[in-house]
Symmetry: C2
Subunit: 503 residues, 2 copies
């Protein structure tokens, strides 16, 4: 199979190998030019001014007439004004939910909050870098002391340490982001018990955090400051004492059969390559659509990567408020990056173009494909609690640990992470599946990568890869370990979005 048709409505094929001029592409037509690998070739005559469709979506217009078999690229394809139309809510479609008899289940931990966890960890949330070492030592001493022996239903203790919490204004945007993130982890259903540990004199005051987010001490939530218990050694002992008390209670919660509608899937990409947009991302999109049809939630993020193609989301927004929220986010990012001297530019780079990407729409569609095709139901700030079902957007940078930290704080209980280059990533307390965009990567880094989406263009299909992803999500949500969990990833990737001046 030398070419790939991504969608039945497309008027082009993607060349999966370099195709020499004259090679036969179908019974009807041959390649009119040399077509480089991963580039596009017209599968029918396209008149000048006609729309060019990939993923069944407009990626531009023909700037001249194009014959079947002709190379499509910047010389004959460009975006017109039409493609930039925000057209709020113009492309929404009714969501096709599965009938009751097709509902799928997983084995999850039901929490008093009504939320369902996919893991059962104990958290050590830190308010400030100054309590990081104490938190890590509590976790390490619990492990060395084999405190968890006999509590087989507990997955471990997670120290959530970070580099901030002081030298900052807790009432700034950055301060609110940090507080919201810490509070989001404190109520995450993958934690059966939570201990929050401060130093005492930091800007991010523990008692303010608890007050602002309604966190109240209970047998599953405890909080204290190192200075209030007279130093590091006592703080560690105190933490170990709390853990000993919590263990039997946390261990008592058992997995139960749960509708897949309780899954909240974070979709993420990192280290993308030319295959990501035609294999791993659209395959993940199929799985995302399946989850939405099951009544579940999909969190799509990485705002800089939709830049220039944000109208593709505003058109899919179910409400004008959500569409406007996307427009507002983009405007905030334009201002934020300008102010910080960083270029916000999602246009195809020279390397992207050499790899076959022609327009910003085409590039963005390749990234957006991982969120599937359903309506945009709501837009959230970074680390804000997600309440809606269906596909939602949460603002975040594209940088993986920062973006996933926000998605998990928002309530994601499974992460799917596509990669073409081979990202090394895991994130406690949430299992993260890694999806390779190409077989070579999967074979080279099979210890790191869970699923090979390269198969989709090697005799498989996006549907088959999407189904493999969805079935794997159900197994992993029920307790099966991901590759990154087996490798012990997840203790160093908690990264609340750093913003604002450190003083």
């Amino acid at each position: 199979m030398k070419t790939l048709r991504l969608h039945p409505q497309d008027n082009l094929l993607v060349a999966l190998d370099a195709l020499p001029k004259g090679c036969e592409l179908s019974a009807d037509f041959k390649a009119c030019n040399d077509i480089p690998k991963m580039h596009k070739v017209a599968s029918q005559t396209i008149a000048a001014g006609e729309k060019i469709l990939k993923y069944g979506q407009v990626i531009g217009q023909a700037t001249q007439s194009i014959a079947a078999g002709e190379h499509i690229h910047t010389h004959n394809c460009a975006m017109g004004n039409f493609e930039r139309d925000f057209a709020f809510c113009s492309q929404i479609r009714p969501t096709q939910f599965v009938p009751t008899n097709a509902k799928r289940q997983f084995q999850g931990y039901h929490r008093p909050s009504g939320k369902v966890g996919t893991r059962n960890f104990i958290a050590l949330v830190t308010t400030v870098n100054c309590s990081a070492t104490a938190a890590r030592h509590i976790a390490e001493q619990a492990r060395l002391g084999q405190l968890l022996d006999g509590f087989d239903n507990i997955d471990g203790i997670v120290p959530l340490v970070h580099s901030s919490g002081c030298g900052m204004n807790p009432n700034s945007r950055g301060g609110h982001i940090l507080a919201r993130t810490l509070a989001g982890y404190a109520v995450h259903p993958n934690f059966g018990g939570v201990i929050t540990l401060g130093l005492g004199c930091e800007a991010m005051q523990l008692n303010h955090l608890m007050r602002d987010y309604g966190l109240v001490e209970s047998e599953f939530f405890r909080a204290y400051n190192i200075q209030d218990v007279d130093g590091t050694a006592k703080a560690i002992d105190h933490g170990l004492g709390i853990i000993r008390e919590m263990l039997p209670r946390v261990n008592a919660v058992k997995r139960q059969a749960t509708d897949a509608s309780h899954l909240t899937l974070a979709v993420q990409c990192g280290g993308s390559d030319a295959f990501s947009g035609i294999t791993a991302n659209p395959a993940l999109g199929k799985a995302a659509d399946t989850l939405v049809a099951q009544g579940g939630t999909v969190i799509y993020s990485e705002t800089p990567e939709i830049y220039g193609a944000e109208h593709l989301l505003t058109q899919r927004a179910e409400t004008p408020e959500s569409a406007q929220a996307i427009v507002d986010l983009i405007s905030w990012w334009e201002n934020y990056t300008l102010m910080n001297g960083v270029e916000l530019n999602n246009n195809p780079s020279p390397g992207n173009k050499a790899g076959g990407l022609t327009t910003i729409l085409e590039k963005s569609l390749g990234a957006m494909a991982k969120a599937g095709s359903t309506n945009l139901r709501a837009v959230y700030q970074y680390a804000e609690q997600v309440k809606e079902k269906g596909m939602v957007f949460m603002d975040s940078p594209g940088f993986d640990p920062v973006s996933v930290t926000g998605q998990v704080a928002s309530g994601a209980n499974v992460v799917c992470f596509t990669t073409g280059r081979g990202s090394a990533f895991g994130h406690k307390p949430v299992p993260s599946l890694k999806l390779a965009s190409n077989t070579a990567l999967y074979e080279r880094m099979t210890g790191d990568i869970d699923i090979n989406c390269g198969k989709a263009i090697e005799g498989g299909s996006l549907e088959a890869s999407g189904a493999e992803i969805f079935e794997t999500i159900l197994r992993v949500a029920s307790g099966e370990r991901t590759k990154s969990e087996l490798l012990g990833y997840g203790d160093n990737e908690f990264t609340p979005w750093p913003m604002g001046a450190v003083v």
Copy 2:
């Protein structure tokens, strides 16, 4: 002793307890008012317009005539224009170096670079968060596998992990700061061997870092990417293999007698209280002066904490260039904080005022006291290699882990950290001494704090506390463990200054 005179030239005393009106303060005068604890009381008549001196320095002028025994505070003391004069280089004095027969020594590790280390660790420097887990696992597996057994001259393996390295522009100011910091650790004399570990596809490219900072692979410096060795498991094995090769060579370097001039002391404060400015900081300043007299180096930092009193440094600058560099840093900080919506304000807060601080000069002098009284010899950017001897300034935020990370990258091989509230801090690979400003704190957190500077106002003296600090520095530089080393601090505080937008 109810009151403290900080300097022979002062025209005031500090009340060490609340002093009731009428209580006898000397043979000559009594308290004219109730004097709150830590507040100032005139020790002689001060005419309206006359300078008010604390630490032998001007903290303001009398706005009305003040009698001996009268409370000095905002009602009768304010800053005039005189005190704001930058007067470049106007207050410099010849440095009094000790004669050869008074030179002090410590036992240090001599490196091929000519620099001298106070510890002998192996570093795992990471270019990006994506290699953090692999680096930590290498260190942990080396420990579990008891690889260091028999290499008693090696202090351990330090994974230097952080939250950045991608989703950023490596050519931005923030990118340069990160690269300079990583390179500074890679050449730090407390490392006998260095392994630098990247992922492969990150913005902070390992080969660019090596090229830009002249880092070349050798038997003591190795570098590789996870993607280039086909994944996490092989990357860990590869790192362990390098460590096995390095161990005998790193272990072979022995401590040798070394002049104290090879010490580079980072001074730092965190969690200050009303005592910090009259006990721990000036006592540390005495030790800093002693080290400068020995030909050593003192790195003073925390730029926001000199704001409003920067002329105290420009007056002490040895060259107009250094004085101008201070002025430029302040102007950069004004712009940076304004742009980020943070207030750069070092004025005494209502709490400071209640605690007895009257003017910004008085507050800044309390913090500046820890750098001692010698000339300012040079000004450096954050994490820039310090080449000058004597007292130098390195730009940084006040936030402890960020500031110390810069000081260590610049070459500090000992840290002294004053605290009034009880900071929890340590920083591998450099020993960090913690100095309490008050006895109550020392007694409460004696497991965390090395030296009680509260003694200086309880029958001791600043000179005696300064000498205790200096002697302890020599012992610790020679291998004696600090409290934070005994507690196992230092693996979670490496925090390159985060700056710029994460995208």
